[in-house]
Symmetry: C2
Subunit: 330 residues, 2 copies
């Protein structure tokens, strides 16, 4: 029909139809072009040609956490725990700090047993140091760190809840193991747990530290840790202990508040006895607690004061495992 | 000896001694004068002649709270409770909201049984209204209010702890009785407690309100309550109920966060059965819970949206009554 119309140049009606058709076609092309331009921006604010990722970078950084687990001489426990922890909700990545110097990591075996829910990176260390786990790992992409000892099993329910608590208290160490210091008339401090007298502020007990071997804290504190006095590193290296006490000092100094928030675990287990390695963990050394009291006093010298503050807040999950945990006569 | 020396005017030694003695006496007088001038200013920085008061005004305002207890037809319970509550640590004053219209308050009897640890004021009401207790009483001098129903006994330990928690969360209603709303596919809300399905955010339960009949909150919220839409007062007056739900809406709107923080009570008792009055409290009315669901939906209309937010944080006192409440296998 088009040619037909063209062949009748003198016909006004033909020219009108031609113009009309052209206009319609042009309009349709414009509409199609507009739709093509609009649709991707409504659905997706990424640049074209970028690979599809389940979440944007910034969302993951806030909504998920990185597990950092240091391991020494307990690879059987490590692998058992990794099977559990790799499936925890909101986990972004696992960083295994490999303190087995000169020994190959189980990375090949790990990969051969894939695929895995999250990436796991093995960071091979050159020296077996307790404070290796407190490096500011470039692999860290999240704001939150979950630090776990390689013999500690905490249930997914506890971790999910504690993570939600951390999100409400991001400047604190939110974890499952509370400890305290007490001062004595001589001015010398002592480190301990419930067995020590309470600090005397009314009834009940108090805690002034939350241990980082089962806790969430802000990844920014790993950055801060790199800027501490040399004497702190020397102390931790000398004792192969007390990195967690040092972190509590750091956080307390930074916030001016109690460093930790204690979340009461429903299901936390120590798997030490289950290892085939025969290795039973640093805290069994005879001098362990004495060392920690020693560390508290040394750190007070280094930081020129005692920054730790007491708290008696204990947080549990409302109605879990069931409503009996809060139901009362009212 | 003095006259003896005077009578020997020509004696040089006498004149020297005279000068020496005079100097000594003058010095001693000066020292005494200095001591007299110094001592009061080191000990006491108040203006002279001001009456001795245990604390400055501003200290009391922050470190103590005012108990507001509304009462209707249960004067026996009221007096029993006042004997208990008047001795709670950090209590500044008690305000009794007297809803027994036309009936004399027990003020004379109260005074005859003095002295009492704190002042108690009886605010005689002209109409028996549930919301009488939410007036912005001029007698209020503290930042914190403890509001108690006249049949509720909470232990001093619980109150002392909850007050310390409120001081860490002053914009929230910190109390012992959690409740929640749930939404249904129809968009209609329902009010209830643990018996309702949890709102479905993972495991465990959630709460979105903390009832003010056993709770601490900031006195500023009483001020805010005077500035609510008329429809709110009409609703509370119509139902003689729901003033606490309205307060939770107010606080949630103000903070954009969950209105309450639930502190799990160790020892909370309802003394209803102990009254001689035969009066058993509003919540026994058949329509009580239905009314509260009705109120939730009306308030959503009045405030043009649902401001209540869920929380699953349950706070307990670490190591009280004993360390068994937190000790675990770790």
């Amino acid at each position: 029909r088009y040619f037909h119309f063209c062949k009748l140049p003198g016909r006004v009606m033909g020219i009108r139809l031609l113009r009309f058709t052209s206009v319609v076609i042009i309009v349709l092309l414009l509409v199609a072009g507009a739709l093509t331009a609009l649709l991707p921006t409504i659905k997706d604010d990424k640049l074209p040609n970028s690979r599809r990722e389940p979440k944007t970078q910034s969302q993951s950084a806030l909504d998920s956490f990185t597990l950092i687990m240091q391991t020494y001489n307990r690879t059987d426990l490590l692998l058992k725990l990794l099977n559990h922890y790799q499936a925890i909700p909101h986990l972004h990545k696992v960083i295994v700090v490999w303190n087995n110097i000169g020994e190959k990591t189980p990375e090949d075996m790990w990969n051969s047993l894939g695929p895995h829910p999250v990436p796991v990176v093995f960071k091979v260390q050159s020296v077996n140091r307790m404070r290796n786990r407190l490096q500011n790992f470039p692999d860290l992409e999240t704001k939150a760190v979950l630090m776990m000892d390689d013999d500690t099993l905490v249930s997914a329910h506890d971790l999910t809840f504690a993570f939600s608590v951390w999100q409400q208290f991001p400047e604190h160490i939110v974890g499952f193991v509370p400890r305290k210091h007490i001062s004595t008339p001589s001015g010398i401090y002592s480190y301990g747990s419930f067995e020590l007298q309470n600090p005397g502020f009314g009834n009940g007990d108090q805690y002034s530290m939350v241990l980082i071997g089962a806790a969430f804290f802000h990844s920014g504190y790993l950055e801060d840790f790199q800027r501490q006095p040399e004497a702190v590193y020397a102390l931790i290296d000398e004792t192969q202990n007390c990195d967690d006490i040092a972190m509590n000092f750091l956080v307390a100094k930074h916030t001016g508040k109690p460093s930790g928030v204690f979340v009461k675990p429903v299901d936390i287990r120590n798997l030490e006895k289950d290892t085939n390695s025969g290795y039973s963990g640093m805290w069994h050394r005879a001098e362990h607690l004495l060392q920690r009291s020693y560390c508290v006093n040394k750190l007070v010298n280094i930081y020129d004061g005692m920054p730790l503050k007491y708290s008696n807040i204990m947080i549990s999950q409302f109605g879990f495992p069931n409503y009996a945990n809060h139901k009362n006569k009212m």
